[in-house]
């Protein structure tokens, strides 16, 4: 799935990585500038405590510089390396500060037996604003690990294989989490129907 575009980007990251290994502070600055925002974004899905996320992002970058001479020469993806490091950091930090939401390891979701009705239940003839609102609503209610997977897949553009590597689970589990999240979208219309029914009842009586 490597497009020519990602290939060029990879090369540049790679060049910067080599620069960092050689002590080039400019390369380091650029890597920070390129990734600290999306890393923070990802981190905030893992911890609701922004101070922990900020610290973790900082520490990931500080470590890169501190350990620059020992960094692997051919890191497959700098971005992957940073994300995986951030996830570990936040997990360690969250143990230190139990105030934050507990990061329980949920059992991997089993693939549902049937695909029945998934097509019909996801309403297709919707306006952009309706889809956008629905997505917002559903995502805000998803379990943490599903949100994490959706962020990595649809915002950070990691492959399923990379996500498995970042989260330390197998690819099948990643796919299941994605599937589970997507199928959540069909719940909302039912809520909507229920509220319409209630409204009708209210009007009748």
């Amino acid at each position: 799935m490597t497009t020519s575009e990602t290939f060029i980007l990879e090369l540049t990251d790679q060049q910067l990585w080599t620069g960092i290994r050689n002590g080039d502070e400019q390369a380091y600055t650029l890597i920070f500038e390129r990734y600290h925002r999306t890393l923070y974004n990802y981190g905030s899905k893992l911890s609701g405590n922004s101070a922990i996320v900020e610290d973790a992002v900082q520490e990931v970058f500080i470590d890169v510089w501190r350990l620059r001479s020992t960094l692997t020469e051919n890191v497959t993806s700098v971005k992957f390396y940073l994300y995986r490091a951030l996830r570990r950091r936040i997990h360690v930090a969250s143990d230190k500060f139990p105030i934050t939401e507990e990061l329980t390891m949920l059992p991997d979701w089993e693939m549902p037996y049937t695909y029945a009705n998934s097509e019909t239940l996801l309403i297709q003839h919707e306006s952009n604003s309706m889809i956008s609102r629905r997505i917002q609503e559903v995502l805000s209610q998803l379990p943490e690990r599903q949100i994490e997977v959706i962020t990595l897949r649809y915002f950070d553009d990691f492959s399923v294989e990379e996500i498995a590597g970042i989260m330390g689970i197998n690819e099948k589990s990643v796919r299941n989490l994605i599937y589970k999240a997507i199928t959540s979208f069909r719940q909302t219309p039912q809520h909507f129907l229920v509220s319409v029914l209630i409204l009708c009842l209210l009007v009748i009586f």
Binding site: T6, L16, E25, N41, Y154, F155
Partner: protein
């Protein structure tokens, strides 16, 4: 029930489909266009799936740090970068309060300061520094390898009056309060590069071989020799460029992120501005809004960018007064000797250096300029 691999749910999680939506390339474009042609019934499903993917990306990407948080994180990281230089680093961030000779900053710090600027601006694209410096690297000027530092000067105006900045190439800049400008100490590279935060009026010495560039957040302004003003407020959404004389091209810095440095080659598409035109650049959207509204150049105007500097039999004392006000400088001369000499000149668009040269030539006088002080010596016209 028969399983449809192209149902909405399936499309949303199809790797190749996601790739087409998020990072379209020639191959997946052909593949999915073909699919749509063969399955016209699927058009709506494809459209919905596309939107789900786009909106999921948008929604999960909303937790990015504020520019204050970015700044805070960078400061923490920077402190570890070079522990021993910690104190000096703090100093650079501090601004100068008086127009003393500029602070010299070596190359590597330059990149970091530029990064801080970018952080403040919340820019997403920063690659241009890399490529601009890449060009310098190819010429063997790399500070890391060659050990030669590209010395940079930073000037900040923390006063409440405009401040004159004289550039090494003879160009002059009138820096407005709460603005800062960075430039190379020697300015002898192929491009004359400056970084502006805030507002300034530029009068640039003509040099067709070495374009003059002003970077301000997401915008780059390129000129060969002319006068113009750039207004890039730190917290503003828009950056404004106004041209007084000559032609100026402006472009989004994103255009500089190509694989090679296009600044010199003239390949850069740029947005050409003619005299007295202005353009506003939206930092958030990365788009230009060209204004047809003409900049008026009026006599008796206080703003330097709107002054015509037309002198017709004007006593030199008056000419000097105009210049003193426009550039916020002090001109010292023997008033009884020269004050009444009449002057005919149109000095619009010329750097202060050139303006003074023209005047002194007419007066058969010499001048010396240092910071905001000008000393003129001559015997007068009588």
């Amino acid at each position: 029930m028969k399983h449809d691999p192209y149902s909405l749910t399936e499309l949303i999680r199809n790797d190749d489909f996601i790739a087409w939506v998020r990072k379209p390339d020639e191959k997946n474009e052909i593949r999915w266009r073909q699919f749509l042609q063969n399955n016209p019934r699927k058009k709506e499903t494809v459209e919905s799936a596309r939107r789900y993917i786009i909106f999921m990306g948008e929604d999960t990407g909303k937790s990015q740090p504020t520019s204050e948080q970015s700044e805070k994180m960078w400061k923490a990281v920077e402190r570890h970068l070079r522990g021993e230089e910690e104190v000096k680093d703090e100093e650079i961030v501090e601004e100068e309060t008086e127009p003393e000779p500029g602070r010299v900053i070596s190359g590597w710090r330059w990149a970091r300061i530029a990064a801080s600027t970018a952080l403040i601006a919340g820019m997403t694209s920063f690659s241009y520094w890399y490529y601009v410096n890449q060009a310098a690297r190819e010429h063997g000027k790399d500070f890391q390898i060659a050990g030669v530092s590209r010395d940079l000067i930073e000037r900040s105006n923390n006063t409440d009056k405009p401040m004159l900045v004289l550039l090494p190439d003879g160009s002059s800049v009138v820096l407005e309060p709460e603005s800062s400008l960075r430039y190379e100490k020697s300015m002898n590279a192929q491009t004359r590069e400056t970084v502006l935060k805030g507002k300034a009026f530029f009068e640039i010495v003509k040099d067709a071989k070495r374009p003059f560039l002003v970077y301000s957040y997401g915008l780059a302004t390129k000129v060969l020799g002319t006068s113009f003003s750039v207004d890039a407020p730190e917290n503003g959404k828009e950056i404004k460029v106004e041209v007084t004389t000559g032609k100026v091209s402006v472009f989004s810095v994103d255009e500089l992120t190509g694989t090679d440095n296009k600044v010199n080659s003239g390949e850069l598409k740029g947005f050409i501005l003619n005299p007295t035109e202005k353009v506003a650049f939206s930092r958030e959207a990365g788009t230009f809004t060209r204004s047809v509204e003409k900049v008026t150049i009026a006599e008796g105007e206080r703003d330097i960018s709107k002054q015509a500097f037309v002198f017709d039999e004007t006593p030199v004392s008056e000419v000097f007064e105009t210049l003193e006000k426009a550039y916020n400088i002090q001109i010292m001369y023997n008033e009884s000797l020269m004050g009444d000499c009449p002057l005919n000149a149109t000095l619009i668009g010329q750097p202060i250096h050139e303006k003074l040269s023209v005047i002194c030539n007419a007066l058969d006088a010499q001048f010396e300029i240092q910071n905001n002080q000008v000393k003129i010596t001559g015997l007068g016209c009588k």
